[in-house]
Amino acid sequence: MNPQARTFELPERFRTLTTVFAVIGGAGLLLGAVLAPERAWLNLLLGGHYLLGLALGALFFLAITYVSGAGWCVVLRRVPEALTGTLPVGTLIMVAALLIGVSGLFPWLELTGGAEHHDVGFKTVWFGVPFFLARAAICLVIWLGFARAIIANSRKQDEDGDDDHTRNNIKLSAGFLVLFALSVSVASFDWVMSLEPDWYSTIFAIYYFSGIFVNALATILVLLVWLRWRGILVDMVTEEHLHDLGKLLFGFTTFWMYIWFSQYMLIWYANLSEEVVYFVKRTSGAWEPLFLANMVVNWVVPFFFLLSRGAKRNERVLFRVGVVLMIGHWLDLYIMIFPSFSPTTPPFGLWEVAGALGTIGILFLAFAWQFGKAEYFPKRDPFLAESRHHHQ
């Protein structure tokens, strides 16, 4: 009844191009490590957040669809699964960024190093380097473990067709979601918010999460459309599936805007000196246009382009909006990370180009590697029939 599934290989020209990107990225940042260590490190950190966030966002997508018993997305599940599979790559980059960071670049190191001008407070303990690294290790191990187990169950089902794999994944997903909420909170405070060590915002973890999830949805859509243009999953993934993903993307970009606005408005309104510093930096000088562009790229564009029903069912529109959002997430992270080191001018040069190209190259190579490991769709999933006959 089901068409025969097959496995994937990256087209030759595309493989060359992405490899070149990855090499440029790697070489550029290595060179940067010598010439401009701080800039290179920031770009490494940004790339780590981008790739790790993408894999985590995809894993979150898998987990919520399992837990909610969603059947519609089964035909396209191998795409988020493959993205989740890239988690070890993002982990490696993040581990490198963190290890380099604690060796002298994280701005809070002065709190833990010499305690001359600072009383021993909460941060002195919290940012003790061993404790910091232990937290990071726990987060990464949790994510890697769940990613591996959930993907393995899904792939095993292709062979034995056992419904128990689905049941197990539902349980694993519920567990993952709980630990995810905690670990992402810790990770976002430790790895992003701490770059402005005196600043704090309780919503920050949710803000970080909304960004990675939007990016995961956008990337899933972009990859899916791209695969379909290459003749893969063409008759499996229909307009209806794209429409649903489009609706999710539309909804979550608006969610991102909501969280962004909540954070901005409350800090603007209360106008407390210890809090507004964050936005003062980001709205001063040449940062301001970027600050405004962030809203346009991440919300205005997707909102108005995806508002109509037709647009959400049109793969070209979805592809373009998806690409805009992938760039938008890079910009969002850039605005989170860079101003604390360069408060007046947004630095953009060789290192940023190398970092961005490297991220894209690695993303595609890692995705292709993972997507090639299994068949195009979970051919023996108990919900496959529902998913194939999915309509509104």
Partner: protein, 458 residues
């Protein structure tokens, strides 16, 4: 149709009902004679409502001085009750709009009652700011219109004005959403009624609905659009309620996480209230085939989700208070957990964070008595959450000489009881005179799921 569904799916409606049976089961409740049980419940609720009305009359005639407020604690019971009731309402919109968008078809059995609950809860909530004004007859000053008071405008920079717009929009939209959903069912009642006053009333209410295809077509588009509009609306309402606090510079109130945290808390408490009401309603009205154990199970899961978000928000606030190394923030949170209102704080933690963890067990989720008790605890806990946020943030402010304690007066307690009276009176009237279950929607999902499968998967 059914063989498309995975064998892991179970039917949404138990008892293998036919279309006619659905109509009879639901409409039958309205067509039978009023049961003595209903009368007893109604009279009790009405009594509470009257007590509340007397209390309100007294405080409006005498003044706000009848409350236990003082210079330090200038906001307490009134705003706590307001936020509590608004929060209760949110679950109704979640079920009717958000779950509709996510195609959670089980919602059809409970959405009508949940929406009714929303409307009544918003009415209960609206009561409190109105009384708080002290001169409720001047409430129309909240409307921005050119006037003879020197053309004095409302201050749109004030979250209290945002609140006014949010609540009135929310009430309006909830009401029309509910009414639109009722239309086809009102027609059913009309068609079943023999000629007479009943037929006239329902004929009028159903606007001459005939269920033609074209009508259904626009109706479905409308329903989808309304769901799409109500979803951001419901989020915005509790968000704006949270801004009543979060825009201030008071530690404990000014926290950026408040908007999503309040929204999750609202749905958490509302879902608990829906479950409390549904557990009673299915028993009293014999609707066990429609509101099944599976419904309790799924709604309990939603309670776990939203409750965990609330728990995470508690933890985040506590953590950031320490992390900020801001002495006022740190003091505030220590004072919450260990100060004179520690009893309220720990009641909140126990009811909202600890006891709901029992719902992780399927056996408890499917046990009516357990779920009933746990949801009542959550309702208590969520009331205390608002009390803790409002009162503990105020009672020990920057100036230790003005530190004080707050105790509600009898009038305040009676007003709260009165709002419960209003709530249950309204809900009982709804149960008696309107179809409690969305018949047209239930009929649409009858063929959903596998009937033959017995194994208790998920």
């Amino acid at each position: 149709m059914a063989d498309l569904y995975s064998t892991l799916r179970q039917p949404l409606i138990a008892g293998n009902k036919s279309l006619g049976e659905v109509t009879n089961d639901v409409s039958g409740v309205l067509e039978r004679k009023t049961s003595p049980l209903w009368w007893r419940a109604f009279m009790a609720s009405l009594l509470f409502l009257l007590i509340g009305a007397a209390a309100i009359t007294y405080q409006v005639a005498t003044g706000i001085g009848t409350w236990g407020l003082n210079r330090t604690v200038g906001w307490a019971f009134d705003i706590t009750n307001f936020v509590f009731w608004i929060g209760i309402g949110h679950a109704g919109t979640l079920i009717s709009a958000v779950l509709f968008l996510f195609r959670q078809r089980w919602r059809t059995s409970v959405n009508r009652a949940a929406e009714a609950m929303t409307i009544i809860a918003v009415m209960c909530a609206g009561l409190f700011p109105l009384i708080h004004m002290g001169r409720p007859w001047l409430a129309f000053w909240m409307f921005p219109y050119p006037n003879m008071r020197g053309s004095l405008w409302v201050n749109f920079r004030s979250p209290l004005v945002w609140d006014f717009f949010a609540i009135s929009t929310y009430f309006t939209i909830s009401l029309v959403f509910w009414y639109v959903g009722l239309l086809p069912d009102l027609a059913t009642i009309r068609d079943r009624a023999k000629a007479g006053i009943r037929k006239k009333i329902f004929g009028l209410l159903s606007l001459g609905w005939n269920g033609s295809l074209r009508t259904w077509n626009r109706y479905e588009v409308l329903y989808l659009l309304l769901a799409g509009l109500a979803t951001p609306l419901v989020v915005s309402v509790h968000t704006i309620v949270s801004w009543d606090f979060a825009t201030a510079v008071i530690p404990g109130w000014h926290s950026t996480i408040l908007p999503p945290y309040f929204v999750a808390g609202a749905i958490f408490s509302g879902m608990a209230m829906v479950l409390t009401l549904m557990i009673i309603a299915r028993k009293v009205m014999g609707l066990e085939d429609y509101i099944t154990l599976r419904h309790l199970d799924v709604m309990s899961k939603l309670i776990i989700v939203t409750g965990s978000i609330v728990g995470l928000a508690y933890a985040t606030e506590f953590f950031i208070a320490m992390y900020s190394e801001n002495p006022y923030e740190t003091f505030l949170f220590k004072n919450r957990a260990l100060g004179p209102f520690a009893w309220a704080y720990w009641t909140m933690v126990l009811c909202n964070v600890i006891s709901p963890q029992l719902l992780w067990f399927k056996r408890i989720r499917r046990n009516v008595a357990w779920v009933f008790v746990l949801t009542i605890l959550i309702n208590v806990g969520m009331w205390f959450e608002r009390f803790v946020i409002v009162v503990t943030s105020l009672h020990r402010d920057y100036l230790p000489s003005s530190w004080t304690y707050y105790t509600p007066t009898l009038i305040e307690v009676l007003t709260l009881l009165g709002s419960f009276g209003l709530f249950f009176t309204g809900f009982l009237l709804f149960c008696r005179f309107l179809p409690v279950i969305a018949m047209a929607e239930v009929k649409g999902v009858l063929s959903h799921g596998h009937r033959s499968v017995r194994s208790g998967s998920r």
